[in-house]
């Protein structure tokens, strides 16, 4: 079991947290500006990828994905997942303190619950899985 995070590992997890809400926001802005896409014309989803907001969103999500993969190579999936959820907390804090938006008590409760949840995981081990050789066997079982 691994218990401690290095500074670079902490930085990677922080980027995992902030890049998702920013990327999703760009995707949302891009997709809502397009006409409604029907299942009869799925190819229009491909053309949407080349619009500016969707492109920026994808760039942010590629950065997220590279960081996420690196994190998964040294941490458990159940350790990395709550870090991703911290992005929602950052969005709420930015909205309140920077954009001066009013945040309802339900949202503050959500921020508190996520923060406590992340703190729960952060105080535990980073990696609880077996050695690399054992993991290779697990990977083969997952494929089967």
């Amino acid at each position: 079991m691994t218990h401690r995070l290095t500074f670079s590992q902490f930085t990677i997890l922080a980027f995992v947290s902030v890049s998702v809400p920013l990327g999703d926001g760009c995707l949302s802005r891009g997709m809502t500006s397009l006409p409604v896409i029907s299942l009869a014309h799925p190819a229009t989803l491909i053309t949407a990828v080349f619009t500016p907001w969707i492109g920026l969103g994808i760039a942010l999500l590629i950065g997220y994905f590279a960081s996420y993969l690196t994190a998964l190579s040294w941490a458990d999936l159940t350790y990395v997942m709550p870090a991703t959820a911290m992005g929602n907390v950052f969005v709420a804090l930015i909205a309140h303190f920077w954009l001066h938006e009013s945040i309802s008590w339900q949202r503050w409760l959500g921020v508190a619950l996520i923060t406590v949840g992340v703190a729960f995981v952060a105080h535990g081990p980073v990696n609880t899985t077996p050695t690399i050789e054992a993991q290779k066997q697990i990977g083969q079982e997952v494929v089967r």
Binding site: T70, L77, T78, A85, N88, G110, T115, G117, V142
Partner: protein, 130 residues
């Protein structure tokens, strides 16, 4: 809140995102664990070595396939529903399915602490959406 689709259609789209996303993340996590610490690989073999280790793993591409399916399902959902509904619903449900999958397929030690964290984050994401 929902633009041009019924409740069940929306639930179906969100379920598709959750299932494809969980499958992709578990397969990708299994692939990354099978190759070891990427930071160490990069320190020994450079960035090319790290990228090479990732792109030569077949399991990784299986995971990517499901993640791509989840991504296009998300785009499809965002075209019809608000981000404030799709984002939290998909994120919180994926968290629960990922935790179960990590326990049963990745053999992670999902103890009471991690289950509590998963549930707290799941409920927290729900409240954030309201």
């Amino acid at each position: 809140m929902i633009l041009n689709s019924s409740f069940w259609a929306s639930a179906g789209i969100i379920a598709t995102i959750v299932v494809t996303s969980s499958t992709g993340e578990v397969l990708t996590a299994a692939a990354m664990k099978s190759m070891g610490d990427l930071d160490e690989i990069r320190a020994q073999s450079g960035m090319k070595g790290a990228i090479g280790a990732v792109v030569t793993c077949p399991l990784f591409f299986t995971g990517i396939f499901f993640m791509a399916a989840a991504f296009f399902s998300l785009l499809f959902a965002l075209n019809r529903m608000n981000l404030s509904l799709v984002g939290p619903a998909a994120a919180s449900l994926t968290l629960v399915t990922n935790t179960m999958a990590a326990k049963f397929f990745l053999k992670e030690n999902v103890d009471r602490r991690r289950w509590t964290a998963a549930v707290l984050v799941c409920v927290g994401v729900y409240f954030l959406a309201h």
